[in-house]
């Protein structure tokens, strides 16, 4: 079953700068999709369209069988978003942050129920952030903060999770940690996960499907092996490199003119 269906989507910020000319896309429930592409090809824009922050000029987006417009504020029960990390002005604690998406379920006086607390504490445990619960958001490392925002998205209790470059500022251990966590959510809770990323290799290792956005409104979907070929990466990103088979997945190393192994690309 397709939980997200995008049909003939057209979107532009201004009349001149068209981001999507005609994008169609199906995402299966319980799958893990990576969205890749050069800067400015509309990866974050696509995320914002899928969570209802932006409206398509034409075409349609269906979430779980219903048009995205029909949800209004209830879309938050289907789609949770993790953006590039953002720290609010006032010093909310980790616990308070993760409790935020329960705002719909509060009682008349504005307080959480036991069920809300339960789901929040599960989310903190799943992301290994429960030991940070009382710390202010501004006083933890960016890797920890990223995990906290993922915990918050989990506490929103949605079937779909959208993430915008969740590993961009993280060290290797935390990068792998985040992808492991997301994979676990996919496998154990059968969540549908869409990750915007520049990391082709991690995407190959963890994702079922890849959407590669090109600079001229072109786009490609398929498995990582189909999409991330040397030729396609060169046409889309304008960068050469070499790829080779590891075990089950490929890996790709981008190479420039002055790289040590630049002779590999001067074919």
């Amino acid at each position: 079953m397709n939980i997200i269906e995008v049909k003939n989507l057209r979107f532009s910020y201004t009349r001149q700068a068209v981001v999507f000319k005609d994008l169609s896309l199906q995402i299966q429930a319980g799958s893990f999709m990576a969205v890749a592409g050069p800067n400015g090809t509309g990866k974050s824009t696509l995320l914002n369209l899928l969570c209802g922050l932006l409206k398509a000029r034409s075409g349609s987006i269906k979430i779980d069988g219903a048009k995205i417009e029909s949800y209004s504020n209830k879309l938050a029960r289907k789609v949770a978003v993790v953006r590039q990390e953002f720290v609010p002005v006032f010093g909310f604690s980790v616990m308070e942050t993760v409790m935020m998406p329960r705002v719909h379920y509060l009682d008349a006086l504005g307080f959480e129920s036991q069920a809300d607390r339960q789901i929040v504490s599960e989310s903190l445990e799943a992301t290994d952030t429960i030991s940070l619960a009382s710390r202010p958001l501004g006083q933890i490392s960016s890797g920890e903060r990223q995990r906290v925002f993922i915990a918050r998205a989990l506490a929103q209790d949605t079937p779909i999770l959208l993430l915008d470059e969740p590993t961009s500022f993280l060290d290797l251990k935390h990068q792998v940690g985040i992808y492991d966590l997301l994979k676990k959510m996919q496998l154990e809770k059968s969540k549908t996960i869409v990750v915007v990323t520049h990391d082709i290799n991690l995407a190959t290792q963890y994702c079922d499907v890849v959407l590669l956005l090109g600079t001229r409104g072109d786009y490609y979907t398929g498995t990582a092996e189909e999409i991330f070929s040397e030729e396609r990466i060169e046409t889309v990103y304008g960068v050469k490199g070499c790829s080779s088979r590891l075990g089950k997945g490929n890996f790709f190393l981008p190479l420039g003119k002055f790289a040590k192994d630049s002779d590999l690309i001067s074919r």
Partner: protein, 343 residues
């Protein structure tokens, strides 16, 4: 799970706060230039022959003034909390969107025009100030909307510019005013609590209480809004609606407070910060506790204002600024490390 505010802990803190407030109000009602004997106050307004002076001073002069200080303080503090939340700016105060200058302009026009009519026994200054305040907020809101998408920034800028413009007009009008007019203008601009009759007081108190209740109802959503509008929207908060309600209610209670008491500075800026620094940023607690602390602060400040240079009286705005500034700085230094300010 002790990190999250519970209904019980909030109620306990509110009860303690309210008890302290009542104590302070009782103590302040006994302080004044005239000795008042509580014993004779209990005899009531006095029978047939002559008035009971103790009762007159206590019930008709001091109590109304103390209650007025309490509601105005609560309103200003709540408006400050809300504007800091929706503008996501710790420097915001109730006057940031031009309310002060708009109200000031209204008041000055009332003074200069020398209108002699009364409204329910009141001079028209309050009414003019109220209209000026709401008109300015409406103007700033309109400009902010016209300026487009990043509404928070354009609202702030529009507020600052309108404030500057109206302040210039106020300066101009002050410089052409006559001597006795200048005196009333300055007293008004510095914030001044005077004895109000009960009718005006009750109207004002009802409006302010209603506004504060509305703001408390949206306080969980203000929490979410602190994370930015995009974030709040994706968590399912109708941000346009919440912002409109918050702005309207905050502007309304500020305008009411200003028309009752003139421009009392600092309460709306420092009280929210003081509460936030000690109790954290959760608006469900921040809002009612700020209301209590705002009342407390203004009641105490006004008691000082009417006794410190007795028999003359100071504008209470002088006291709030002189007492509030250093106190706030101490609090800021002491607690910033604990809370981890990220601004």
């Amino acid at each position: 799970m002790s990190e999250i505010l519970t209904k019980r802990s909030l109620l306990i803190r509110l009860a303690i706060g309210a008890a302290v407030l009542v104590c302070v109000m009782v103590v302040c009602s006994l302080i004044g230039t005239e000795e008042v004997s509580l014993k004779s106050v209990f005899f009531g307004p006095g029978r047939a022959a002559g008035l009971n002076p103790d009762y007159e001073i206590f019930a008709r002069v001091r109590l109304p003034r103390i209650f007025l200080a309490a509601i105005v303080g609560a309103a200003l503090a709540c408006a400050g909390v809300v504007l800091q939340a929706i503008l996501r700016n710790p420097l915001a105060d109730p006057y940031i969107l031009g309310i002060s200058s708009g109200a000031g302009l209204g008041a000055i026009i009332a003074v200069l025009s020398g209108l002699s009519w009364n409204l329910w026994g009141r001079s028209p200054i309050g009414l003019f100030a109220f209209v000026g305040a709401l008109g300015t907020v409406w103007l700033v809101w309109g400009i902010g909307r016209l300026a487009g998408k990043s509404q928070v920034t354009s609202l702030l800028l529009a507020g600052v510019v309108v404030n500057a413009f109206f302040s210039a007009v106020i300066m101009f009008l002050t410089s052409i005013a006559k001597g006795h007019q200048i005196y009333s203008i300055i007293f008004w601009l510095m914030g001044n609590l005077a004895e109000e009759d009960f009718f005006v007081f009750w109207i004002g108190a009802t409006c302010l209480a209603a506004g504060i209740v509305v703001l408390f109802k949206i306080s969980p959503k203000l929490n979410v809004l602190s994370f930015g509008e995009a974030e709040a929207k994706t968590m399912g908060v109708n941000t346009a609606m919440v912002k409109l309600v918050a702005f309207a209610a905050a502007a309304f209670i500020t305008a009411v407070a200003v028309s009752l008491s003139g421009l009392i500075g600092f309460v709306g800026l420092i009280v929210p910060h003081a509460v936030r620094l000690v109790l954290g940023p959760d608006h469900r607690q921040l809002l009612p506790m700020s209301a209590i602390l705002g009342s407390l602060f203004l009641v105490a400040a006004d008691t000082l204002a009417r006794t410190i240079v007795a028999p003359a009286q100071l504008p209470v705005g002088v006291i709030t600024a002189i007492a509030g500034g250093p106190f706030f700085l101490i609090l800021l230094v002491k607690y910033t490390r604990k809370v981890g300010w990220t601004g």
